[in-house]
Symmetry: D3
């Protein structure tokens, strides 16, 4: 039995509200159960120095958590610098989103995705990727409407879901109580039916290839459901 | 004429939504027009070392802005450290809220207020103080209900409003377009009909005592309206 | 009774010694009783990047305290970074001095004011502003003598004084024993009979508008006495 | 054809020289082709504060690269702080090694693994894990010989290998020229025939589950060869 | 010919004014020509953790320069951290003063020497050591008068002087114009007729043992003159 | 009796292995007994901004220690920043090597020397200078062979040795047990029979000119032996 009473292959309720801020070129608030992440996209007509005159676009991401997004308050990173965990997550978000971008079609400009966790209950990095793609797509749509981009650089949504082995069972979309007890958990980032990134990790445990395949099956189900929510949000 | 079409003594629409997060002991989302600030209160039964065994409570505050809370994106402070402006604001919030606290009645514990600007359109520090008091009060109410505090340490609300001289006229509650053009602006923090803190500043200009009094009149009006919204929110 | 035996409206002895270093374009040592601040002005023909080609000048300030300027030694900021208090003070000094500068007449150059507290006994930020203006004026005079500036960008002195409520009485020019006990204190920065900046703050207390007016009356008296000392020093 | 002329399932020459420093409790120099990593183990009888009195041991790791370990010189991290990449790698090394440790058997003490890359040619994090386990094992052996540990906390070696898709082909043990051109690459950390961590990542590309399985097959072959080298080194 | 017109073996005018601040346990302003250094001594009854319960005292030093102590303004170290040069100098000052202290007689307490350069014209580290000893001695005298120390831990003054080869000639007490042109310069720290520290350094040049001996002869002359000024100051 | 059984004027066994990395333009591993330092030279055709268009070359150095190069593990500087000691050493290495370079003959380019201590047993800074010169020479030889430099900018080797007073005796080449007990120790950097830098320092002691001369005699003997090893290594 999962703490939430969900089936092993059942995702939390997902919603994506778009255009939630007046300033950003694209924005959404994604809720996966009690995990709430605000994602904004900022278009910058300048790329980083190492890409100048390449004709290629760039997508990058930053990630943060409000200090009291968690059960007990965390120290504010603005006072202490970004932790190793934060840096690892924001590198993953940027890499994942870039894998779904046609950088030639985007043209020589940068889109910066900011993912800020308002409330956390497990799976924040996956929600950030799924929501981040929506913010990115909305910003790209604005550029296309303005005639600054002529062919869509974002063919397929990029979405992410966590799966893990909790109490001996393979389960989809871990919430915090499951995540903190899982012997094995993984993050699966996909576009269409293809994989972009797989990160599986055992804590005080190991896993077999057969278990790995079980988790991949769950992930494919979850990502296909997320994709439907993403497409509805941006249409 | 003000850019927003408001009267000189007219505040923006104010709303305070309470209990907006599942984790914090007290929380609210305050909206003053397009300025939106999320305020949370965290109760910590330990006080800072220099106050141990004093029997007195402590209230402190931290302030942040999401990178794209503003018209153009700001650099993330978690990567660059808190700016002088941020530190100045959070010192002001803490000092203002403490002025309205009976530290003996609070007992030897600390309440940490986090004020995070989700969307900015001028007056964020004032909104943070006004909303911060609501989050603080909700946390105190929880401590009183639990019997950990017996006499209410928060008698009167603390609220704050900005006023300034825009296009030669004394106006209440500057929004960003006014704030960036005002020759003189001030922040007025009050509790009941008493002043706690006054900060007035001219940029490339000066002001007379008579203008100062005009702004104080406006501030008194604004704060009394804010107090009504605060009391409705916490009741 | 004030600890120093002064009348409530009596300032400490003030002296300003000019040209105290061989290197700076302008310099003075200001003493307000036991508070001693060394102020230097450095002329830089380059302005910060955001002001290039604006034709406007800039004045900025930095503030520091020697570790043993105080009763007990403070940690050296070079080892630990500038505190929030230090940053707040140096922003105030720069803003206050700029308010008294005709930036067109100054021409596109920067003058950097350094205010270093050699010995502290309350009121260091006010002494820094008052002395900083003298250093600035001396540097401007040198530029005028050299024909690099043709019309004086500094019409009126900028001076600052603190006032507060000590032992229930409104008093002028708080020294450290008063400052650490005052329920309300304020800093008043003026040029001529106009206000540039007012900062009033209650610690564990509040104040009325009538008290505020009492402090302003004291401040006007103090600033007019300081102005006489400034003008004597630079003539 | 691979740049090195190796078969697709052929690892580089591996050697592990043990006890290469006079100070560390365990040490080795692992060479995988031109990638050379010095691994040392330091036994500390104190655990981090959050583990005190738990009775459990801890293993942690740090990773560094000499500035000229690479083709062009990198900036020294001691001058600039650890990059996000470095932090991500050292977290991976620590997590991987801990997965192979019986923390009860280790007893309440910490072993710190330092992995310093003397020369880099791709696959440094995998070499660090494989060599790090050898250094760890040698330190544990010393503790067992001294009677401080009675049952061996390290049953099976932990080893790691990278695989990827280079020029359309699935290949084992990428060197730098392959790594910088591979569309997909992954790191596989195993103990015995079980998986501990899988990290697969596409750059400007995607991969299918069948390709993923192909890489896993290669990884299993590689890890079993590494395990033989590890066991020979520590025996 | 020296730029200042001094003889090769002629020191600049030296003066040491004592008790220049109201707060420090010992203080002086040392002037060697245009090099002015304010030295304060702070007594702390606690020693650093690594010396607790050793019964031994400790003397340490910190060094700083006001930003406009130099011909062109230097960046403020409080904003940028201490430079390598600053750290090297303050380590030298502390080491030199400790060499003249009987740490048993001092007793388990720490004396912190702060040396802040008000105006620089070469030789600041030597002036800091010579003046630092005076501040230290005055603080020790106060402890002796209070009966907290019974036998004087400072038998002989510690003093320092620079010498160098300027325009081919061995000269005593380099000022800034000489220092910036000297091919060889050295700092000589002595107590009585004994050496504590010698630092000689060639820039784009070399020196012979005979030249080294020439500089040592000059240094001995200089230090004996400084010692007389120190003893006069503290008596 | 020295702990190692060496004669007072006997150096440890020295060896210099060259071309130890595949990437650097020059490299060596110098061993002075149990002190092992890896030295690499990196040629950069760009000089620092302040030297552009001067026609002069530049040589600079950085120094580091692996965390477990020492008996007890030191904190990794990449996590904590370079210590004052590290900065002082790398400034010394750069200054010493530059003193032996004809900067006109080198031409407007920079050579960066990295000295990383793999294992420490006293005298690491001296080994770094001696080995650093060999790495520098090998890089210069490569530039000469390529015709980029036409006249050799490195006429004479630069070498360094420590001497000190241990148990009352003047001894050559202190190892760690001696160094940590020596009352006086010094580092002597020479080129040919000329001195470049002398640093002598007493800890809780003093020294006479006659002792200083004794140490210089030892140093001259040591440096002449090192020079022979250097010349053999680079020929």
């Amino acid at each position: 039995m999962r703490p939430s009473g969900r089936q092993t292959n059942e995702m939390r309720d997902v919603s994506i509200e778009t255009n939630v801020t007046i300033h950003a070129e694209g924005s959404c608030l994604i809720k996966m159960g009690n995990t709430h992440v605000l994602c904004t996209a900022t278009v910058d007509e300048k790329v980083p120095p190492f890409m100048r005159n390449s004709g290629l676009g760039w997508v990058t991401a930053e990630y943060g958590m409000l200090p009291r997004a968690t059960h007990t308050r965390m120290r504010r990173e603005a006072k202490n610098g970004q932790s190793g965990r934060t840096q690892e997550i924001q590198r993953l978000i940027g890499r994942s989103l870039r894998a779904g971008v046609d950088r030639v079609a985007l043209g020589e400009r940068q889109i910066q995705i900011d993912c800020d966790v308002i409330q956390a209950d497990g799976g924040t990095r996956c929600a950030a990727i799924t929501g981040g793609w929506v913010a990115l797509k909305l910003a790209v749509n604005k550029l296309m409407k303005a005639g600054m981009i002529t062919s869509d650089p974002l063919i397929e949504p990029v979405a992410a879901i966590s799966c893990g082995i909790y109490a001996g069972q393979e389960v989809l979309d871990l919430d915090y109580p499951e995540d903190s007890d899982a012997g094995v958990d993984g993050n699966f980032i996909m576009t269409g039916d293809k994989l972009i990134e797989v990160q599986m990790s055992a804590e005080g445990s190991t896993f077999s290839r057969s278990q790995m395949n079980g988790l991949l099956d769950l992930a494919e189900k979850g990502v296909s459901e997320l994709r439907a929510v993403q497409l509805a949000a941006v249409s």
